[in-house]
Symmetry: C2
Subunit: 189 residues, 2 copies
């Protein structure tokens, strides 16, 4: 049975195991095995916080190496882009040559989210590029997030799934996650 690494900031939810079980149950319905980042069964006792963090990072990388593909929760997290750890893991799986699928429970463009962050509309540089309030260019590729993120999913033969969800359900709603599972089923059909 193919193993799907379940990347995302779901690990930071108040009850991450509930989310893990819900995702794994959906994976099983499509005859895949879900692998959650907390599945490493690590014993962190006696480690400093810093050393514990490193041990978790190593364990997550081993879990990714043991998995066949990934479905990432790429919903914007504490800013206009996805969680940094999730972005890292998408790059990691892509370099391993394994399919990277992803969803984001958000509608609206990356540029709109950057504008919201500064509380003012985006300006244009003298050269005509959209820029943020620091004068740094805002990507304008009709993509929902950074081009490396969207590029990884497209290179995997899939589409980043976007879905509007009720406020507060951005990191728990699994409708878009299940759309990813449908894409996985087609990829391996």
């Amino acid at each position: 049975m193919r193993r799907i690494y379940l990347a995302g900031p779901d690990v930071f939810l108040p009850d991450p195991q509930a989310q893990a079980q819900a995702k794994k149950a959906l994976c099983a319905r499509y005859r895949f095995a879900g692998v959650f980042p907390l599945d490493g069964g690590l014993d962190l006792s006696g480690l400093s916080p810093f050393q514990a963090g490193l041990a978790i990072a190593r364990a997550n990388e081993e879990l990714m190496r043991s998995a066949d593909l990934m479905i990432a929760n790429a919903t914007p997290f504490r800013g206009p882009s996805l969680d940094a750890g999730t972005a890292y893991e998408m790059g990691f799986m892509r370099a391993l040559g394994k399919p990277v699928l992803a969803y984001a429970n958000v509608v609206g463009s990356y540029a709109e989210r950057v504008a919201a962050l500064s509380g003012q509309p985006l300006a244009r540089s003298p050269a005509g590029h959209l820029v943020d309030d620091r004068g740094m260019a805002v990507e304008a590729f009709d993509m929902a997030d950074n081009l490396m993120i969207v590029g990884a999913v497209e290179a995997s033969g899939a589409k980043l799934v976007l879905a509007g969800v009720p406020a507060g359900a951005e990191h728990t709603d699994l409708t878009a996650f299940e759309r990813c599972l449908e894409q996985v089923a087609q990829l391996f059909a």
Copy 2:
């Protein structure tokens, strides 16, 4: 001569080529060749914005495969964490087994930046974890950013270099970048 991929949101600066040349000049001083993400020499004419974005993503991945190691600008970008594309690229290089070095022109902890984002102090969950204003856990591993990011640098035998810089110079100051080059020189001594 070893090739260093120069990851970071430097590509979004008003004059990215000036930054590229400055970084490459420093690399040369340490007898390395700097490779900037814009070095692909892509012809994007005739492509839709979306297809152009995908072409850039593919080109960046090829540049990373051609490089021997990476120095990433992991300075917080549009939020408390580094740029999403940079995080992706750090994971990509790490999975290729190539050294990942990084710097961040910032002082202060990740937790402090999360608190600043919401404009209120972090609370504690019933279980005692630091949580943000949505109740999602904030990593508390004495790390400057997500544990996968710090973990990649540590696994490469290096240290994430942190430096305070004058306001406005967060994405141009190269003092910490040069500290990374010194680490690279030691790694390959």
